[in-house]
């Protein structure tokens, strides 16, 4: 079978499917509505896991960038890029579920809540990182610049997060927080959904990394062909002079 699958991804993939299915069962059916939030608490079982996956993605991007700058490893460069893409995708989910959750809770889709605001800025920041990875520059130049930004981005993330928190903190208490009572079944649903999404994230990351790896291989093959053609040009010229 020609695909990016392997034994490992089958195992992780099936684990993700099973975990997601049972987590849906718990999140939507078995767990009770919360006292103050009502059924909208169920969005939390979606919101929190997506946050976990996106932060893990950015963490891997940071790690990969550090390692790439140390030893120019193609593996870590590509992994950093793949993880950032998944981080951005899941940050989009965080924003969407956050604002959908906000409508019944706050009455609006958007609230200048510190986390929501900081997450949006962070989202755009990592879109910039992905744009750097697509820059029209020689490969090693692009990778090095992306790695530098992948590292700085974490510092930015912290600054943005705390400055926004401070900014809103002066006006009002935190609005989005799990300060409500979650009973055993709810906590279990939350735990299960986080586990399920981590499996899903890992599975996506492996596949996305392999796609990036294959893209690099295709690029290398194209280069090898171009090199041969170029040498052909030189060969034709040499035939006339009968040398080498």
């Amino acid at each position: 079978m020609t695909s990016t699958s392997s034994k490992a991804t089958y195992v992780i993939g099936w684990a993700a499917i099973v975990a997601l299915a049972s987590s849906l069962l718990f999140a939507l059916v078995l767990s009770p509505p919360e006292v103050s939030m009502g059924d909208s608490v169920r969005l939390l079982y979606l919101h929190l896991p997506t946050i976990a996956v996106s932060y893990l993605g950015y963490g891997i991007t940071f790690l990969g960038s550090v390692i790439y700058l140390r030893n120019q490893s193609v593996f870590w460069d590509l992994l950093a890029g793949a993880a950032a893409e998944i981080g951005v995708l899941f940050t989009a989910f965080v924003l969407i579920t956050g604002s959908i959750w906000g409508k019944p809770t706050w009455g609006t889709y958007w609230e200048w809540d510190p986390r929501l605001t900081a997450t949006t800025v962070m989202f755009i920041m990592y879109l910039g990182y992905l744009a750097i990875r697509r820059m029209d520059l020689p490969q090693e130049v692009r990778s090095r610049r992306a790695a530098v930004i992948g590292i700085i981005a974490i510092a930015n993330l912290i600054i943005v997060r705390y400055s926004v928190q401070w900014w809103r903190g002066l006006h009002q208490g935190q609005t989005l927080g799990v300060d409500t009572q979650l009973d055993g079944l709810m906590l279990f649903s939350l735990f299960l959904s986080v586990v399920a999404f981590l499996f899903l994230g890992a599975w996506l990351l492996i596949h996305r990394f392999r796609v990036a790896w294959l893209e690099r291989q295709v690029e290398d093959m194209r280069l090898a062909r171009a090199l041969n053609e170029r040498r052909g040009e030189a060969g034709d010229a040499t035939l006339g002079g009968a040398v080498s």
Binding site: P138, E140, L223, L227, R231, G235, D236, A237, A242
Partner: protein, 223 residues
């Protein structure tokens, strides 16, 4: 001086150099010849430590091209006269020269005689680069190169766009540089002129060296 073996260099995913073998000894004046797109400019940029060595091995002035640290030293010790002027259009000839002299840790007072020698003294000194003719700009670029005192001179079409006196200037300067121990590589289409200078001509086609001739003797391939 220059020692390249199977050197590959990519420009935007295109193998501009597809495996160049080239050895240049101390004090040589090597002329690179070849059609447009043969990789002459990239070869010069590679020797200057600017283009990336993507395959093969190379040492320039005894420094390894594949080491980032040593490439920095190569850049300091070579001089490149390229199609780009390497000058700030918005500044005057004098300001440019003084800035680049300082940037290269050369004595700014050496700028004066160089300007005079290149006919850029007097009125032209206070003219902005953008107001100069192509030939005058080229002279200003040469002036910067002279004040850097590089050990390896890399000249990309140095005679292009110059008048007769300008061409003679370039030749004089090249001969002068060699007399003071420099090595020169020139990429040029102006065969007649450079063959008077060259100690060796190297042919470059399709990003590879396809032949070489010694000195001014024609048709003797020794690759």
């Amino acid at each position: 001086m220059v020692n390249l073996s199977g050197a590959i260099s990519l420009i935007g995913g295109f193998p501009a150099l597809a495996g160049v073998d080239l050895t240049v000894a101390d004090g040589e004046i090597v002329v690179l010849r070849g059609p447009n797109g043969a990789g002459k400019s990239t070869l010069l940029r590679l020797c200057a430590g600017l283009a990336h060595l993507n395959g093969g091995t190379g040492t320039i002035l005894g420094h390894d091209l594949s080491s980032r640290e040593q490439r920095r030293r190569i850049r300091r010790e070579t001089g490149l006269l390229a199609h780009q002027t390497f000058l700030y259009d918005e500044l005057t000839v004098e300001d440019n020269l003084i800035f680049w002299a300082r940037a290269n840790r050369a004595d700014p007072s050496t700028v004066e005689p160089i300007l005079d020698r290149l006919d850029l003294g007097g009125r032209l000194r206070t003219v902005k680069i953008s107001a100069l003719s192509a030939g005058q700009r080229r002279r200003a670029s040469v002036a910067v190169m002279v004040c850097r005192r590089p050990k390896l001179w890399l000249l990309d079409e140095p005679h292009a766009g110059l008048d007769q006196t300008g061409r003679d200037f370039i030749d004089d300067i090249v001969r002068h540089a060699v007399r003071f121990g420099a090595t020169v590589i020139i990429a040029s289409h102006d065969h007649e002129r450079v063959s008077n200078l060259a100690t060796r001509t190297v042919h470059l086609v399709g990003g590879m060296v396809t032949g070489a001739e010694d000195g001014r003797e024609e048709g003797q391939n020794v690759s």
